[in-house]
């Protein structure tokens, strides 16, 4: 079997002959609920998806391609006062166009901001940190954060752990789902299905370095059009992401349907998965050890024969000679 090469573009035709995937379990850098994950022997080139929001026309081709590639079946909902459908990410809809009609207070112009939402593939993934099931969430050295559904227990901790509110747990299978960055496609040298489909090529895919360079060009072009605050969204708080945005208003990402300005793994989650875990175990351990020691070292609290007699006395005194 020929080995696949890493993808450098989103747009190529998929192979129909079998190829060996270019990354696999040997490339894991993180594995959920695993204490002794060995460092991989090799370091893969980081990949990234770049979403240029300024080129996006909100056509939902990404959603369509995502459904088709991943064989999901999102439920048909209703019209709820926006073009956004489904109304939210679901276990069957891994990506979603979020529409915002925003009147720019500086220019008084209407801007229709459309952002493709979905997993950001954080360098420091909150979902993985929160996950209690060993190997249910993994991160490969190329940056892909993937859910291994067979290992998922459906607890929803990833939902709490994610700074971007992405994972969704299915009510049918009780397994969490999210964008895989089309790991199955990337493995054989293809870009993600959404990136391939995107009609205006607002979604690009390649090495993270290439994507950052491309973003720089785009930002320069946007600045020439008067978008002085154009910039790249690759937030440091989560160690950078493998899905990045070019924004016209990078100074206020919140206007794009609540894209967090400074995302990071919540301190609550950090504490829960950090200090609490260890202090908790320590407390339980200490209590167990303490009582055991007390049991071994100290004397048991025994009732003496004398007590029994006293009790009889007491009962008789109190009870008289009734019996």
């Amino acid at each position: 079997m020929t080995a696949a090469t890493p993808p450098t573009t989103a747009r190529s035709n998929p192979p129909v002959e079998q190829l060996e995937s270019y990354f696999g379990p040997q490339d894991l850098v993180r594995r959920s609920a695993t204490l002794d994950q060995p460092a991989p022997e090799r370091e893969l080139t980081k990949v990234a998806k770049l979403i240029d929001v300024t080129r996006c026309i909100g056509c939902k081709a990404c959603q369509s391609a995502c459904i088709e590639w991943n064989d999901t079946h999102p439920e048909m909902e209703d019209f709820a006062g926006s073009y956004m459908n489904p109304h939210d990410l679901t276990p069957e809809m891994f990506t979603l166009m979020r529409f915002t009609e925003w009147e720019n207070p500086e220019t008084n112009q209407l801007e229709w901001l459309i952002r493709k939402d979905g997993c950001m593939h954080c360098e420091d993934p909150g979902c993985l940190k929160a996950c209690p099931a060993p190997g249910a969430i993994v991160q490969y050295s190329n940056g892909i954060v993937d859910f291994i559904h067979e290992n998922c227990i459906g607890c929803g901790y990833c939902v709490s752990g994610c700074p971007f509110d992405i994972p969704r747990v299915s009510k049918v299978t009780n397994v969490a789902y999210k964008c895989t960055l089309c790991s199955d496609r990337v493995a054989v040298g293809q870009g993600p299905a959404c990136a391939k489909a995107c009609p205006t090529e607002c979604i690009s895919f390649g090495t993270k370095d290439d994507m950052k360079a491309q973003a720089e060009e785009r930002i320069a072009e946007l600045k020439s059009r008067g978008f002085e605050n154009a910039g790249l969204y690759d937030p440091d708080g989560v160690g950078g992401t493998h899905v990045m945005y070019v924004l016209h208003h990078a100074d206020k990402p919140e206007v794009y349907a609540g894209l967090p300005a400074e995302p990071r793994i919540s301190p609550v989650v950090e504490t829960w998965k950090g200090v609490t875990k260890y202090l908790g175990l320590a407390a339980i351990g200490a209590m167990a050890v303490g009582t055991t020691l007390h049991g071994l070292m100290g004397r048991a609290n025994k009732v003496s024969h004398e007590d029994e007699e006293k009790a009889e006395d007491l009962v008789e005194t109190e009870e008289g000679t009734k019996r």
Binding site: A10, R11, S12, N13, P14, P15, V16, E17, Q18, L19, S21, G24, P25, L28, R31, C59, K60, A61, Q63, S64, A65, I67, E68, W69, T72, P134, G135, V138, Y140, D146, I148, H149, E150, N151, S170, V172, T173, N174, V175, T180, S183, D184, R185, V186, A187, V188, A193, K196, A197, C198, P199, T200, E201
Partner: protein, 198 residues
């Protein structure tokens, strides 16, 4: 989606009562032997590709149909449709309609048999191709014989038939269009039009 998992989970649940009281029975070592990390098997392996163009708008994006089975033998089923990256216009991209072409091809409301609705009926009933086509041919012949205007008041041959009309499709091939226009114009149908009118 993952039927295996839920079934397995269910079986384990059934055994949970026993397991809970019998630590050794299940064995700690066996506890949920974790699946190793893997990516989904690439679903287009061993499929057949056919080059086509999107039937929707007139950008005419190149698409590749991935199928299993033999088209000529009549058993080919399309598993996936994707943009053709070689195509100069779309370069592999597709819009939300094009990207979902597979489910257009397999739409639940695709027609699979000729049907006939009697006058006044509230439903269709199946009809054979032969019966349907004979009915159509007979109706055409009778109406044409009765209503073809052969000459006008001035005696000019006009061979015009206006009591039958034909609307042509906008997504059929040029070749089908040629076959269609040959037949319709030869019959003398004046009320001939196509979607371009709209």
């Amino acid at each position: 989606m993952n039927v295996d998992l839920s079934r397995r989970g269910f079986l384990k649940l059934a055994g949970a009562g026993v397991a809970a009281t019998s630590v050794g029975a299940m064995g700690f070592g066996e506890a949920e032997a974790a699946e190793i990390a893997h990516v989904r098997a690439f679903k287009l392996w061993t499929t057949t590709e056919a080059r086509n163009t999107c039937p929707y708008c007139s950008v005419a994006c190149g698409v590749i149909l991935y199928s299993k089975g033999d088209v000529k033998a009549g058993g080919a089923e399309i598993l996936h449709v994707e943009g053709d990256a070689d195509h100069p216009t779309n370069r592999g991209t597709l819009c939300p309609k094009g990207a979902a072409l597979k489910d257009f091809i397999h739409a639940p409301t695709r027609l699979t048999e000729p049907r006939y609705r009697k006058a006044g009926a509230d439903r269709f009933e199946p009809i054979t191709w032969d019966a349907a086509l004979d009915k159509i041919a007979r109706a055409l012949k009778d109406d044409r014989d009765a209503n073809l205007i052969t000459t006008n008041a001035e005696g000019v041959t006009v061979n015009r038939w206006t009591s039958t009309g034909f609307l042509a499709a906008s997504a059929t091939t040029n070749e089908t269009a040629w076959a269609t226009t040959k037949v319709v114009k030869a019959l003398g149908v004046a009320g001939f039009d196509n979607q371009a009118r709209v």
